[in-house]
Amino acid sequence: MTRYVLRRLLQAIPLLLIISLILFILISNLGDPLASFGGTRRRLPPADRERLTRQLGLDKPVIVQYVIWLIGNDWMKIDVDGDGIPDAYGTRQGVLRGDFGNSFQERRPAIEVIGERVWNTLLLMTACEAVVLIFSLLIGIYSALRQYSAWDNTITALSFIGYSMPVFWLSLVLIYIFSVNFKRWGLPYFPVTGMYDLEVGPTVGQIVWHLVLPVASLSIVSIAGYSRYIRSQMLEVINQDYVRTAYAKGLPERMVIMGHAFKNAALPLVTIIGMDLPLLLGGAVVTEAIFGWPGMGRLYFKATNAADIPVTMGILVIISVLVVLFQIATDITYTFLDPRIRYE
C-alpha cells in the first residue's frame, strides 16, 4: 500500500506540470488583463498601459511568462525602468518555491488574495456538503426501502422539482420569502447578505444564522440529485443474493441495510464524493454573489473575467493538487469498504 501511494504521488508530479502548462496557456488567452483596468469610468491611458504591460510581465511570450510563473525571475535581470535594458534582478520566486505571483488587479500576493476567501468557502461548502450527504442518504435509503410507496412517489416528485430549480432563482425566492416577507409579516427572518451582522461581529451564532439560506439554496438541488443516485444504488444492492442471505440468517434489518447493503452501494458514492471534495474549494459563484458571501466562487469568476492570471492559476493549481490527492484518498478508502480491493 505504501509503495502504491508513493508511486501515485510521483506520477502526480509530471501530471500536475502538464496540467499547469495547459491551464496557463488557456488562461493567457482569456483576454487582455489590462482591458478592464479602470472599468468603464476611467480607462487606462496608453502610456500607462505600456508601462503596466512591462511591469506585470505581460510583454513577454506566453511560454516565458509560464517559466517565470513556475520558477520565478530572481535569477535573471529584467528591465525595471522601461529603457529596454535589463538592469535589476526580478523579485519573483515562482510557484515551485511557493510564490504564486501578485494579482494583476490588486497588486498583492495572489496566495494572500486566495487565502482570504478559502475558509469562507470551506465553511459554506462543507456545511452544504454535510447537509447534502446527511439528507440525501436518509432520503435515498428510505426511498429505496419503500420503493413505489406513497412516500417514495412523493420524494421522487419533489426530487425532480428540486433538481430543476435554478440556483439563482431559488436563492432569490428564499430571500424574498424568508428575509423580506417574513420580516414584513413579523416572523423570525433570515438576513439577506453577508456572513454576519457587522454590528455584532463574526460570532458562531451569527455565522450559522447567515449560513442557513445559502446552504439551503445550494443543497436543495444537490439533495434532489444525490438522493436519486443513492436510491438507485441501494435498489441494485438490496436485491442481491447476499442481502437475502443476511435476512435469512435473522440479522436485524438495520444491520443488513447499513452493514451489508449500504457498504456495497457506497462504493460509487465514495467516488463521487472524492471528486466533489476538492471542488468544494471552487465555491459556488451564483450563491456567493447573491448572498454576498465572500468566497472563492466569486473570486474565481472575477479573476477569470479580468484575466487575472496569477489568481486564476493559483486557484486552479490548488484545486488540481487537491483533485490528485483526493483521488488517491478515494482509492485508499475503497480498500476499507471492499476487502477484495488491494493495491500492490
Binding site: 483576454g31 502610456a47 501578485n102 439528507f135 438576513p191 439577506v192 453577508g194 451564532g205 450559522v208 454576498g292
Partner: protein, 588 residues
C-alpha cells in the same frame, strides 16, 4: 419497522433542525430596524442574540447605541485602498470617506474647499499669469487621524510615489504629461510647476480619485522594500484624513468606517458607516426592502419600479458626466462602407426611438443627451437631440443609394447588404433587451444588425491582442462612458493620433474618427485657460460631431441612489459622490 424508523428519524431531524435554527436568530442593528411603530413583538424576539452566542455585555440603551448606517455597493471591491493603485468608482467612494482632497466639487459645480484654503486663481495669485505655476495654500492644523500634521510634504511624497518605477501605480496621467515638478515651499504651501498650461489641473491633481497619502507611514515601507505594491496600508490604512477612519476591510464582504475624531471639520454626526460589497443587484434591492441597507448605490432604471413600492426609500440622482453612447466605426479601412456616409449614420440615429427605450426599460429615469458633454457648461445649447423619425431615416438611406433591390428586407448597394456588426459588453439582461429592440427598429428601416455580446476583456482588448474595437472589427458598439475628470471636458478619444495601429496599439480612438478641424480644436482647448474661449471651442466640437453624426448619445447614466428616509442631510455629488458624508445623520 426499520424503514418506518428511518422515516421517523428523518422527520425528527428536520423538526429538530428547524427548531434549532429558529432559535439561532441574529440581533438586528439600529440600521436594519424599521421604525418601532411598524415592528411587531414577534419580530423583535426573533432578532435577539442566539442562546449559543458567547455571553455578551448587556445591550446598550438606545441613547448609547452608536449612530450607524449601512450602504451597499454593487460591482466589486475597491482594487486597492491606496489611491495610487486605485481606479474604480467604489474606491473613489471609499476615499471620499477616508481621505481628504484639496477640494471637492458639488452637484452644482461649486468648489468646496477641503485641504486647500482657497482655490488658486490668477486673481488671488495662486496661478501665474502664464498658467504654468500653481501655488496652493493648505489649511493649517489639518492632521492625519494619528495626530501627525498633514503637510505639503505628504503631497510631494505622493507625487514621487506615483512616478517611481518601483511602484506599479495605476496611472501617471496627467502627472507625466503636464507636471514638471512639485515642491513643498513650506509645510503648508505646495507649488506645482506645469510643463504647459493645463486647463484641467483643478479637477485632476490631488482631487477626485487622486488623494494625498501619508509620508510618515509609507516612506519607511518604500525605503525598506523599494516599492509600495505590497504595503499593508494598501489593504487596511492605519491612518486617514477624511471624516471617517477605515477600520476593517474584508474583501468581497464589507468595509467598516468609524468617525475620525481628528477630522479637521469636526467629528461627523455618524459614528459608523458599514459598506456592504455586493455583486448581485437583486440582492441589493432585497437588502433595501428588508431594511438591511440604508443607502443603495448605482441604481439602474429598471430597478426604479420596485424601489418605488418601498415607502421607506427615496430616490435621488446626480449627474456625473456619464452617458450610454452608441459609437460608430467610421474608419474607411475597417468599417462597413455604409458607415463612412454621414447620411447613413444620421439615418441610424433617426431610426432609434430612444425615449421609448428609456420609458419602457428604465422607468423614464434618464434623459437623452445631445453631445458628449451633456451636463457640463460645454454642452452646445443650440443643438437638439436627434428626433425619432423613421420615415426621414428611410429617405436618407434612399438618398444615400441604399435600397432593397432583392426584396429580402435589407437594403443593399452595389451588391453589398446593409448588415452591420453590433458588438457590445454582454451580461446584463436589460441591455440585451434594449439591443434586441434596437435591432427591430433598425430592421424597420431596412438595416440589419448582427449582434455579438462579448466580455470587457475581449471587446476592449488592445490592437496587439486583436481587440474587436481596437482593430475595427465592428461597425456599431455602445458602452457607458464619460469624462475622466468630469466636469472638465477634455478627452482624447476623437483624435487622429489615437487611432490604434501597430505602432500605437493602445490608442483609444476605436471609431476611426479623423477630422483635422476636430484635432485642432481639441489641441487648443487642452491648453486654453480662458473658460469662455474653451466653452466656445467645445461648442464647435459638439457641432461638428453632431452634424457628422459621429456618435449617437443614447441616454444619461447618472449616479442614482436609494436612501432610507430614516436618514437626514444626505446629499451626493456626481463628481465626488460621498463628499458630504460628514454631514449625514440619522433622524430622531
Amino acid at each position: 419497522m426499520c424503514t418506518k424508523k428511518i422515516g421517523c428519524v428523518t422527520i425528527s431531524l428536520l423538526i429538530v433542525s428547524s427548531l434549532m435554527l429558529a432559535g439561532c436568530g441574529g440581533t438586528t442593528t439600529p440600521t436594519t430596524t424599521a421604525p418601532v411603530a411598524e415592528e411587531p413583538t414577534t419580530g423583535e424576539m426573533a432578532t435577539q442574540a442566539p442562546a449559543t452566542q458567547e455571553p455578551a455585555t448587556p445591550a446598550p440603551t438606545e441613547a448609547a447605541r452608536p449612530k450607524s448606517i449601512t450602504m451597499t455597493f454593487v460591482g466589486g471591491d475597491p482594487e486597492s485602498l491606496n489611491p495610487i493603485y486605485a481606479y474604480s468608482w467604489t474606491a473613489e467612494c471609499v476615499f471620499d470617506l477616508s481621505l481628504a482632497s484639496l477640494w471637492n466639487i458639488d452637484n452644482d459645480g461649486n468648489y468646496v474647499m477641503d485641504l486647500a484654503e482657497e482655490l488658486p486663481t490668477v486673481e488671488n495669485g495662486g496661478v501665474s499669469e502664464d498658467g504654468l505655476v500653481i501655488t496652493i495654500r493648505l489649511t493649517p492644523d489639518v492632521t492625519w487621524s494619528d495626530g501627525t500634521p498633514l503637510t505639503a510634504h505628504d503631497a510631494v511624497f505622493t507625487y514621487d510615489m506615483i512616478m517611481d518605477e518601483g511602484n506599479s501605480s495605476y496611472s501617471r496621467y496627467p502627472w507625466d504629461t503636464y507636471v514638471e515638478s512639485i515642491t513643498a515651499v513650506d509645510d503648508h504651501t505646495l507649488q506645482i510647476k506645469m510643463t504647459a498650461p493645463y486647463a484641467d489641473w483643478s479637477t485632476s491633481l490631488f482631487v477626485g480619485i487622486s488623494r494625498i497619502i501619508p509620508q510618515h507611514i509609507l516612506e519607511p515601507v518604500f525605503e525598506a522594500e523599494g516599492t509600495l505594491d505590497n504595503a499593508e496600508w494598501n489593504r487596511l490604512p492605519s491612518v486617514g484624513s477624511g471624516p471617517f477612519m477605515l477600520t476593517e476591510f474584508e474583501p468581497a464582504s464589507h468595509i467598516i468606517f468609524k468617525a475620525n475624531e481628528r477630522y479637521w471639520r469636526g467629528r461627523p454626526h455618524l459614528d459608523e458607516i458599514y459598506m456592504r460589497l455586493l455583486e448581485d443587484r437583486a440582492a441589493q434591492i432585497a437588502a433595501l426592502a428588508a431594511g438591511e441597507s440604508d443607502i443603495g448605490s448605482y441604481i439602474i432604471g429598471s430597478e426604479i419600479p420596485s424601489l418605488k413600492t418601498m415607502e421607506h426609500i427615496e430616490i435621488t440622482s446626480s449627474i456625473n458626466g456619464y452617458q450610454v453612447v452608441t459609437f460608430l466605426n467610421v474608419d474607411p479601412k475597417t468599417a462597413h462602407p455604409a458607415m463612412t456616409d454621414p447620411l447613413v449614420r444620421r439615418a441610424l440615429a433617426l431610426a432609434l426611438d430612444r425615449q421609448l427605450m428609456i420609458d419602457q426599460l428604465y422607468a423614464g429615469l434618464y434623459q437623452i443627451p445631445v453631445t458628449y458633454w451633456h451636463g457640463t457648461v460645454y454642452d452646445n445649447p443650440d443643438l437638439e437631440p436627434y428626433p425619432y423619425d423613421p420615415e426621414q431615416a428611410k429617405a436618407l438611406l434612399d438618398q444615400a443609394g441604399w435600397v432593397d433591390t432583392n426584396g429580402d428586407g435589407v437594403r443593399d448597394k452595389d451588391g453589398v447588404e446593409l448588415t452591420l456588426r453590433y458588438k457590445y459588453i454582454g451580461g446584463d439582461e436589460t441591455t440585451d433587451t434594449r439591443i434586441a429592440s434596437m435591432q427591430q427598429m433598425l430592421a424597420d428601416v431596412g438595416i440589419k444588425i448582427d449582434i455579438y455580446a462579448e466580455t470587457t476583456e475581449v471587446l476592449w482588448a488592445s490592437y496587439d491582442e486583436g481587440g474587436p474595437l481596437a482593430t475595427g472589427d465592428y461597425d456599431v458598439t455602445h458602452y457607458s462612458d464619460g469624462l475622466w475628470y468630469f466636469p472638465s471636458p477634455d478627452t482624447s478619444y476623437f483624435l487622429c493620433s489615437e487611432i490604434p495601429t501597430a505602432e500605437n496599439p493602445w490608442g483609444y480612438n476605436w471609431y476611426g474618427i479623423c477630422i483635422p478641424e476636430l484635432d485642432e480644436l481639441f489641441a487648443a482647448q487642452a491648453v486654453e485657460i480662458n473658460p469662455e474661449k474653451r466653452i466656445e471651442m467645445f461648442y464647435k466640437i459638439g457641432k461638428i460631431m453632431y452634424d457628422e453624426t459621429l456618435i449617437i448619445p443614447m441616454y444619461t447614466d447618472p449616479d442614482v441612489w436609494a436612501v432610507n428616509k430614516r436618514l437626514k442631510d444626505v446629499r451626493f455629488s456626481g463628481v465626488d459622490p460621498l463628499m458630504f458624508a460628514w454631514e449625514w445623520d440619522v433622524a430622531e
